[in-house]
Subunit: 230 residues, 2 copies
């Protein structure tokens, strides 16, 4: 396994489009100054009040980032996929501030951990690396803007339809309870239940405990489209 590690080390950089242009010396330092870590599904990758000391680049799995409000309720903020980095961590790492949101591994996760020292060194030395980092930021901020826009202006049924289409596997099944879908969209479970009932009545989905099966994709897509135009 150790033998293959070096090969893996050399290889993971190319999972990230923005890093493939790194010159060889920088690339070598990046590989040398970072390590690959794995955590099982359900692990709290980071949490509020914890100071960040490393940047995570996801190789496999997804991390859900959410915020816990004063009242104990939760809002889903965004999801970090393989091939992406967690700006939140980055932000706090560089600003020497604490996190203000939770990060939870939704699946088993493999990631590259870049310690602050390595990170800072690379940001100083490599324009390519800088651009990689700032692009990640930019993308995430845009996501947040879109999220706010959705929350404020979009109807729940449209948002749910859209999210179901996103979350569905190739077989068209979404594995999630109503409560989970509720926190995903920042709404109450009851609203999800009622909306899904309506979708079922229209023949767009079939429900069973803990999962939703999309059987009328076209209907959901039509709903999303009709709202997208305004």
């Amino acid at each position: 396994m150790q033998e293959t590690t070096e090969k893996t080390d050399a290889g993971w950089i190319d999972h990230f489009a923005g890093l493939s242009a790194l010159p060889d010396d920088i690339r070598a330092d990046l590989v040398k100054g970072s390590q690959i870590i794995s955590v099982p599904a359900g692990t709290q990758v980071f949490e509020p009040g914890q100071s960040a000391d490393r940047l995570l680049l996801l190789l496999q799995g997804t991390v859900r980032v959410q915020q816990r409000s004063d009242t104990g309720r939760e809002v889903f903020l965004f999801r970090v996929h393989a091939g992406e980095s967690c700006v939140l961590t980055t932000a706090c790492m560089l600003a020497f501030e604490d996190y203000s949101a939770d990060g939870i591994a939704e699946t088993d996760v493999t990631a590259v951990a870049i310690p602050r020292a390595t990170f800072d060194d690379l940001v100083a030395r490599s324009a390519v690396f800088r651009e990689f980092v700032f692009t990640a930021y930019s993308r995430r901020i845009t996501d947040l803007f879109t999220l706010i826009d959705d929350i404020v202006f979009q109807r729940m049924d449209v948002r749910l339809a859209s999210r179901l289409l996103e979350l569905a596997g190739p077989d068209g099944v979404v594995h999630a309870t109503h409560a989970v879908l509720g926190t995903e969209l920042g709404t109450a479970r009851e609203v999800i239940s009622r909306t899904l009932s309506e979708f079922q009545r229209r023949g767009w989905v079939q429900q069973s405990r803990g999962e939703v099966r999309i059987v009328g994709r076209a209907g959901l897509e039509q709903l999303v489209r009709s709202a997208g135009e305004g």
Copy 2:
């Protein structure tokens, strides 16, 4: 105006706490590589689809950042005050991506414009400057999280009370129409009207065309506090 510029140049850096620790050589390059600009109130400082080529540091005035949705409605995102920088610009500048939000000068604005070349150079060379930039990012992202949290979980009356207290001048007067307050909070004008009527009934505010006078500050503060605890 040009004569005084050089004197101003030397001084503005100390308006920004995070920059005061800059070493002299960096400081000189920053001053040399940037320029001071002024725009009148109401100017659109930036807009979606326009590529950013400089970072703005506000010396005087405020800039309102908002997003226009597909449907033509607007959501207020945050406000950039004197002594702060506009991360949004930064994000897009560095990522070579376009803006996705509007920036509007609410007052006459004076700002330092740092062109991309200077910015990139400074990020590479100065750890202090890096920290300044990333701290600005971090703060703004945290703001967005708080905003989302508020939108999802906080009652409108609490949010309005809180915003009135923020916007009020030293004389306790807020100059804004109901419609403006509506977009500030991402809600409808009618909701503002009704809520303000209720505040007036309770003796907390007095209304006249285009302005709201706070006459019972304690009541508003009490409302905000009671909700803040959860």
